[in-house]
Symmetry: C2
Subunit: 256 residues, 2 copies
Amino acid sequence: MENAHSTPTPQHQFSASERQALYRTIYSRRDVRGQFTDEPITPEMLSRVMMAAHYAPSVGFMQPWSFILIRSDETKQKVHALFTKAHGEAADMFDGDKRETYRNLKLEGILEAPLNICITCDKDRAGPVVIGRTHIPEMDLYSTVCAVQNLWLAARAEGLGMGWVSILDQERLKDVLDLPENVVPVAYLCLGHVSQFHDKPELQKAGWRPRLPIEELTHFEGFEQSADDAFATELFQNLRQEQKRIESGLSDAVGG
Amino acid sequence: MENAHSTPTPQHQFSASERQALYRTIYSRRDVRGQFTDEPITPEMLSRVMMAAHYAPSVGFMQPWSFILIRSDETKQKVHALFTKAHGEAADMFDGDKRETYRNLKLEGILEAPLNICITCDKDRAGPVVIGRTHIPEMDLYSTVCAVQNLWLAARAEGLGMGWVSILDQERLKDVLDLPENVVPVAYLCLGHVSQFHDKPELQKAGWRPRLPIEELTHFEGFEQSADDAFATELFQNLRQEQKRIESGLSDAVGG
């Protein structure tokens, strides 16, 4: 039965503790570049996190993703060489102090992580005309990113650290991984058990950029447009309080 | 203390029930086009789901997203007109039977949903040179999609249905929402309480496309390359069993 006043059936409702588990995963997820241990990822655990990715939303139910699992030192070394080259090029783009800070940041864990995964997007997966991709051709790439984010959250809940390495020449990466022309390497990921998770993003802790106040990013009806009704006022109060609570919770979680 | 053999501190570990809650959210999330009720979204709940989005990963901690909340019928009507135009153009791209099926699918809930949100990406948010975006310029768009997926999962756990409307001309949408040149409308979302969640994606139920077997999308070291060691064999067994279990679980969840 569907009408405007029916409420979801109980099996579709989530408990407060289930919601809390989701929010905890989201707030404690990190982009991990170090801290990898040598504990192997079991096939069971890998199966669970890959399946979380596979049940992401996709435009036209296209499911454009593939998973390339990289375990061999030989492939990792090739990708690491691509990173090293791109990283040097990137450093030269920053000025003065920022360049020195940039050089000191650890931005990948390719060789340390027991497993690397490249998640790709096959633009031909569902034929030339795809529902929902007719006007925004990037929708298949966006679907693939949804799979990446699902995998990231699942990894966090399983105690696996994950890092996204984006300082790579995509065309050279395609060569290393034998990708056909129509397949885009959307995300190169490093995955493994970790000794710890940082309380806050490393770039935030390093003073590179602060966490922005969400209220400054929230508009009504159009960009930079505000609203001053009771709903908007209450929303902004909640956003301020919630962000303050989350940030202080993240600090507490470290425990020194 | 960090070394290769230390294990995560207890406050960083997740319980089995927490992991289960995350997986339940992922597997029961839907792209919702109908079933919206007229129950309003409270500022408290909206604050929670927006905050989940704001704590997504972002390249160089750029946080390139903004949230444009659309409540007025006037704006919704303008966006709906864009959808209607694009939808007609899209239908003409499909052949024969597919075109008729396409026309009968419900692909948006712009007017029915109490709230629409456009999540945008400001390419200038962190200056011209951004860590991690130096070699893949799309990384800021990908970060924004991670925020969309976080919001989607949070919405599901809160009992809110969400739909992503991608059959829109992005340039015209920018006009309607007054977006500056450097701001990309990544996702136009419809959000609201719903009377029910479907057990499976509507395109799967409609026979448009099946859920693909994940084992066919899994490769080793390179595209379409296989492996036959014990780990790979066990992984494929797990993937098969897990996918079967999930699909039968989704059917059971309907309850007729």
